[in-house]
Symmetry: C2
Subunit: 341 residues, 2 copies
């Protein structure tokens, strides 16, 4: 149901019943290796291109969900997913493999919550018994497409971010008849494109921060909630620069919270001593941290209510070459952990 201008509430508590999370070598050595279901120790993953490795990350994440949940893919109605690659081929090829009716999404690094919002809406209104949704990225595939081939050894400023290698997939299902405790989607706020005129593709966190702030403020206005209603408000991949900027902007707007409550998936995923510049990014970043680490923490009792705000920079190499500024977007989904029936 629409509430306010741009938010939905999900009265029927669509449940995140199972998840699958895959990652690469940097993630193995990161801060959260135990929250992955499968980690590859090299970027090639026995494939003959990085793009095929990227596809494999998504295929395996889907496979893991099915295995863990003991679910047949025929019992899943839809697959809503996307990535950052031109024409989102890794996701579409994974959709060919799983053969589940498919909605391709493009929201850059906001894709994870674009997908979870739509999946929750569809399941909430019985448009499906259960659906899969997710997002993925691959560092080397992204580097050569968006920046330079890794072998070129190009220098980057400290504001640049490190595309994570990984895929996160969630099975969203109806709550009817489920006993026990589960994470479930409570509401979602869909973002507008915000562009403050920034043009530096090596400072995406700074460019995306205003979009995150716009969506967070819209969420609170639409729902009547405040930061006090959440145990954690976590952005997708603002990194160090973007997190600081977003926190300051929120404070300026009177949206006050302890800084500890305002985290970023791009900072959570890596150790401080890893050479990832301002932090992790990529369409997979918020997907793997939410569907791995954060849901595990909810199950352990650390958080009961969280707001996940996936942030996306909707640029392309061509739009940068044509001197366009960077249009950004953020979508938020509120998730609670508890009984659903």
């Amino acid at each position: 149901m629409l509430i306010g201008k741009q938010s939905w509430v999900f009265q029927n508590k669509p449940v995140i019943l199972e998840t699958g999370v895959t990652g690469g070598p940097f993630e193995s050595n990161g801060a959260l290796p135990e929250d992955f279901d499968l980690l590859y120790d090299d970027l090639w993953m026995a494939q003959d291109s990085y793009e095929k490795a990227h596809r494999l990350l998504m295929e395996k994440a889907v496979e893991i969900v099915l295995q863990k949940g003991n679910i047949q893919k025929e019992d899943i109605q839809f697959f809503l997913a996307g990535d950052l690659t031109n024409q989102i081929t890794p996701t579409s090829f994974a959709a060919r493999t799983n053969a589940i009716p498919y909605f391709g999404l493009y929201g850059a690094c906001s894709t994870s919550m674009e997908g979870l919002a739509l999946a929750s809406f569809i399941v909430n209104y019985k448009g499906a018994h259960q659906v899969l949704t997710g997002a993925s990225s691959h560092n080397a595939a992204a580097e050569r497409q968006f920046r330079y081939p890794t072998e070129y050894g190009g220098q980057k400023p400290p504001t640049a971010q490190w595309t994570i290698t990984g895929a996160g997939v969630a099975l969203v299902a109806r709550s009817e008849g489920l006993t026990g405790q589960f994470p479930y989607a409570v509401s979602a706020t869909i973002g507008k494109v915000i562009d403050m005129g920034l043009k530096d593709p090596f400072n995406m966190g700074g460019a995306m921060a205003p979009a995150a702030v716009d969506t967070i403020l819209a969420h609170f206005e639409d729902t009547g909630l405040t930061p006090d209603d959440y145990d954690l408000i976590v952005t997708g991949d603002l990194g160090e620069v973007g997190r600081e900027t977003a926190y300051d902007l929120l404070q300026q707007q009177g949206c006050l919270m302890d800084k500890e409550k305002f985290q970023d998936c791009g900072l959570l995923i890596f150790k401080p001593d890893q050479p990832v510049l301002a932090g992790g990014s990529g369409a997979g970043c918020s997907a793997v941290v939410l569907y791995g680490h954060l849901l595990n923490e909810m199950k352990k009792g650390k958080y009961q209510k969280i707001l996940v705000v996936a942030t996306g920079a909707l640029l392309s190499p061509l739009s940068v070459q044509q001197k366009d500024s960077i249009p950004c977007i953020a979508h938020a989904v509120a998730i609670e952990y508890g009984t659903v029936c």
Copy 2:
């Protein structure tokens, strides 16, 4: 509501209340110029790149919907749209201009019906009062990205298709309180990725035909309907080769209809003597033909019930270079014309 395996029915009759359709010079000289709201007589459209012209096509189509419907953009909750360009920048930049909360979609040339299916579902369940959905393409932007720069003068085989220049946008709204007759969405069938191993990017119609057939058969199985229940079954951009193939495959599967009933937007849009090889294609193709010509024909009484099956080839130039075959998909939406309250 889910019916069968992969279809929705929309009991509340989400209405296509208004449309905006823009096109370029080839479309001006095509078979349906009177069904466009705005036609540009050159491909540059006073912009300094084809990609910016592409963005303009979508921006203007949205503007036209708002003007024709006398609607403020603030009264529209969501914009669901996409195109074929890398990172769908023309659509995302248009979303920046209209500032409506935005779901970016990627379904290649199936995007139009992916968007209309989701828009109809959202409006049907009161996730919005009204939403915009659409798709667009630009011949020269697509040529240089997917094939060769036009100036190179590369030869193409007669199975190749001609990306149309245009954008089609629909305003989908709740039917409550509307008097009079309108086109409205009745049901939708979401396609699986189908890949028969074809690798020739200059014969996309042939590659996509099995996906169209799969979705059409799924639609009839899920809904219990037959071709007799429709006045027209129209594919997105199969072109001459794909239409023949799809019609043959349907006949082999026992799905029989007059060939006259089985049309293709890529063949309807151009005159037979235009040099467009096997016919039109592109994400805008089914969008402009449906939201322009076909809805006009429905209003004139030619058709009362149609099934629109937008077809997409989910390849990329890189996937072709890496010798992958072409994964294809098709999404169908059934539209009726009549009273809604």
